[in-house]
C-alpha cells in the first residue's frame, strides 16, 4: 500500500536519500533501523509529505505523494504520523487533541468523533485523562494520546518516528505495548526505532539504512539475528552492546 521508487532527496548539496526503493504491504509492520543521520526520519517525512523529494516516486494506495498538490490532504488522512516528541497541542485537552482531525479536517459530526475518541483513549489506557491538558501528563501518557490522535483519523497506516526515544526508560514499555496491540490487530505500520527487542518480536520486515541507502532488508529475524552485511553487523553490535 506504500511504495517508494528510487527516492532521492537533498538538503542543498547534501544528498540525504540516495535512491530508496521499498514497499510496505497492507497489514505489514516494517521497522527501519540505522545510525543517526542516515535518513530514517526523512523517509517517513517524505511519505507523509512533510518534506518534498527531488526525484523518484512515492505512492500511497496508488496515489502519488506530492507535498504541494491538493491531494496531500487525502494522503495525510490515510497515513498518520506519530512523532518522537509527541507534538500534542498544549492549549487543548486530551480529548480535543484526539477529535481535532476528525472534526475539523474530516468534518465528522462532533458527537461521533467524541464517542470514538473516548473509545480510543480507553484502548490506550487513558480514559480517565480525557479532560487533562497534555503538559499535565507523563511522556509515556502523552505519546499514547498521540497514538490515539493518529488512530482517530482511521488511517490505513501509521508512521512512527522513534516513538520511545524521548521517554524515560520505565515509560517505554507502556508505549511499545500499545503499538504491539495495534500490530496484532493488523494495522499497517512503519516504525523507525532503536528498540531491537520490539523489532525482533513485532516487525515482519526490517530495513537497515546507512548513508541514505538501504544496506540490507529482509524478515526481521534474518536481518537482526543473522545480518549479511558488515555495516549491519557493526551497527547491531554497537546498539546491542554499547559498552
Amino acid at each position: 500500500m506504500i511504495e517508494l521508487k528510487d527516492i532521492r532527496k537533498s538538503y542543498g548539496s547534501f544528498e540525504v536519500l540516495k535512491g530508496i526503493t521499498a514497499s510496505v504491504e497492507k497489514g505489514e509492520v516494517v521497522c527501519i533501523i540505522g545510525p543517526s543521520g542516515s535518513g530514517k526520519s526523512t523517509i517517513l517525512r517524505c511519505i507523509n509529505g512533510l518534506e518534498s523529494y527531488n526525484s523518484g516516486e512515492i505512492l500511497v494506495e496508488g496515489q502519488r505523494v506530492d507535498r504541494d498538490a491538493p491531494s496531500i490532504v487525502s494522503i495525510r488522512t490515510q497515513v498518520s504520523m506519530v512523532f518522537q516528541r509527541f507534538n500534542l497541542f498544549p492549549h487543548r485537552t486530551v480529548l480535543e487533541n484526539v477529535i481535532e482531525g476528525p472534526v475539523f479536517v474530516k468534518k465528522e459530526p462532533r458527537k461521533e468523533a467524541i464517542e470514538r475518541a473516548r473509545m480510543l483513549l480507553a484502548q490506550v489506557g487513558l480514559a480517565e485523562k480525557a479532560d487533562a491538558h497534555p503538559p499535565q501528563l507523563s511522556g509515556g501518557q502523552q505519546q499514547r494520546v498521540a497514538i490515539a490522535r493518529a488512530l482517530a483519523m482511521q488511517p490505513k497506516a501509521i508512521l512512527f518516528d522513534e516513538p520511545t526515544s524521548a521517554l524515560d526508560p520505565e515509560l517505554v514499555g507502556e508505549v511499545l505495548g500499545v503499538m504491539r496491540k495495534l500490530a496484532d490487530d493488523g494495522m499497517t505500520m512503519v516504525v523507525v526505532t532503536h528498540e531491537m527487542g520490539f523489532a525482533k518480536e513485532v516487525a515482519d520486515r526490517v530495513l537497515f539504512i546507512d548513508g541514505g541507502v538501504i544496506v540490507e532488508q529482509g524478515p526481521a529475524k534474518d536481518v537482526l539475528n543473522d545480518p549479511k552485511h558488515a555495516r549491519t553487523q557493526d551497527f547491531l553490535r554497537r546498539v546491542l552492546h554499547p559498552l
Binding site: V73, F83, R85, N87, F89, P90, G101, V105, M153
Partner: protein, 217 residues
C-alpha cells in the same frame, strides 16, 4: 486646592476636546499599526526569501527613523508629492506606520514561539496552512502577544502627544496653549497629567489581566 478646582472646571471642557483628539489619534494609529504589523509579521515568517527580506528591510527603515521625523515627512513632504493630508490624518498615518515595526516584531515573536513540531503535527492530520494558523498557531500566539501588545498601546497613548508637532491640538498641545495664555502652569499641567493617567489605567489593567492569563497553562 480650591483654586485648582476652580481652574479645573474652567479648563476641563477645552482639555476634554484635546482628550477627544488624543483618543482619536491613539485608536486610529493603533488600528493601522496592528494591521500593518500583522502584514509585516506574516511576510517576515514567510519561507520565500525575498518576501521576508523585504519585510525585514521595511521594519529596519521604520525603526531607524524618529517618530517625529516620520510625522514631519508625512505632513510637510507628502503635499510636495501631491498628497495633502489633514494634520489629524497625517498624525494617524505617521504614528501607525512608526509603530507597525514594533507591532510586527511582537507578532513575529509570538508566531515563532510556537513549536515547529506542533505545526507538523497539524499538517500530518491534514490541516492546511490557514487552518493550522487558526486552530494551532494563533490561539497560542495571541496569549503570548497580548501583554506586550497592551504595553504598546500605553506607549502609543503617550506618543500620540507627538502629533502636537504637526499642529494636532491633542491633550498636550491644548494644555500648552491654555498654560501660555493663562500662566496657570501648575493647574493646567497637573490636569493634563491626570487625564493621561486616567486614560492609561484601563490599559494597565488590560496588561495585568493578560499577563496573569498567559502565566496559566
Amino acid at each position: 486646592m480650591q483654586a485648582f478646582l476652580r481652574d479645573a472646571t474652567e479648563f476641563l471642557p477645552i482639555l476634554l476636546e484635546g482628550v477627544r483628539l488624543t483618543i482619536l489619534v491613539t485608536i486610529g494609529s493603533l488600528i493601522l499599526s496592528t494591521l500593518l504589523g500583522l502584514v509585516w509579521a506574516i511576510m517576515r515568517v514567510s519561507s520565500i526569501k525575498i518576501v521576508s527580506r523585504t519585510s525585514a528591510g521595511i521594519i529596519n527603515v521604520i525603526r531607524g527613523i524618529p517618530i517625529i521625523v516620520q510625522l514631519f515627512y508625512i505632513y510637510f513632504v507628502m503635499p510636495d508629492l501631491g498628497v495633502s493630508l489633514t494634520a489629524l490624518q497625517a498624525a494617524i498615518i505617521g504614528l501607525g506606520i512608526a509603530y507597525s515595526a514594533y507591532q510586527a516584531e511582537n507578532f513575529r515573536a509570538g508566531i515563532e514561539a510556537i513549536d515547529k513540531g506542533q505545526i507538523e503535527a497539524a499538517q500530518s492530520i491534514g490541516m492546511g496552512w490557514w487552518m493550522t494558523m487558526r486552530r494551532v498557531v494563533l490561539p497560542q500566539a495571541v496569549r503570548l502577544v497580548l501583554p506586550p501588545y497592551g504595553n504598546t498601546m500605553i506607549m502609543m497613548l503617550k506618543d500620540s502627544s507627538q502629533a502636537s508637532t504637526i499642529t494636532v491640538a491633542e491633550l498636550a498641545l491644548q494644555g500648552k496653549l491654555i498654560a501660555s495664555s493663562t500662566f496657570k502652569n501648575t493647574s493646567v499641567f497637573t490636569l493634563v497629567a491626570i487625564l493621561y493617567l486616567v486614560m492609561s489605567i484601563p490599559l494597565i489593567l488590560f496588561v495585568r489581566h493578560f499577563e496573569k492569563k498567559a502565566g496559566r497553562p
